[in-house]
Amino acid sequence: MSMKLSTRQVDGVTIVDCSGRITLGEGSVMMRDTVRDLLAKGNKKIILNLGDVNYIDSSGIGELVSAFTTTKNQGGELKLLHLTKKVHDLLQITKLYTVFDVKDDETAAVKGFK
């Protein structure tokens, strides 16, 4: 299953609903382009909802890191929401779980922005 992304606004926060695979190639490029486009348009409070992401490889992990650092460097904030067990385990193995701001509840995640 290829990657699908859709965005929605909730109380000034952009939520990117992701589904499918974030892997080298199309999936990673879509993620990169979407986040860069949001930042270019001034949307600097971003939540990546990964609840329907069933697979991610090292390139996908790299894109999450890139999205996080790019947003932060532009004065924004990026959170991850609804990690599947596979993605959760990968972020634990790579020691990135504590680097990202990971949330399980969308409402709390939206309210948590500064």
Binding site: G25, D57, S58, I61, G62, V65, T94, K95, L96, V99
Partner: protein, 147 residues
């Protein structure tokens, strides 16, 4: 699966997906559990990415050779490229604080995390990586479990 099977593949992104699919099918057929199948397929995917991108650099005249061998105790997967050979000393630790936020460099780390044995043999004519997963219930797996 027969005792061993080998594929010669182009240096393309499709090869990465095909390698992953073959690994998933073979690991499933052998009887590995869902988590182990995911680990094996991801390790093969990462290895194939390295071979296609970093080894052969997408060169159309260079091939990736992928082979699977079922021994009594192990699934042995070998991936060989025709690149210049990886510099083992130049592989940074992706868990080091200064590398945590790098956007690449986790492939070999993931292979080592998911497989029981990872052997990397670089040469001037390419790199060969052997990925080994012990078959559950075999004497090799039992030996580890008893340690």
């Amino acid at each position: 699966m027969e005792q061993s099977v080998s594929y010669t593949l182009d240096s393309t992104l499709d090869t990465v997906d095909h390698a992953e699919e073959k690994a998933t099918r073979i690991a499933t057929d052998i009887g590995f559990g869902e988590d182990e199948v995911m680990q094996i397929s991801m390790a093969v995917r990462e290895c194939a990415v390295n071979a296609v991108l970093h080894g052969n650099a997408y060169a159309p005249d260079k091939k990736v050779v992928l082979s699977f061998e079922r021994t009594p105790e192990d699934l042995v997967i070998t991936i060989r490229d025709q690149g210049k050979g990886i510099d083992l000393g130049g592989i940074p630790n992706p868990l080091a604080p200064e590398n945590l936020l790098k956007t690449s460099g986790r492939g070999i780390f993931l292979m080592r995390s998911f497989m029981d044995v990872v052997e990397i043999r670089p040469s001037q004519t390419g790199t060969e990586i052997k990925l080994i997963k012990h078959v559950r219930g075999s004497s090799a797996a039992g030996k580890e479990a008893s340690q």
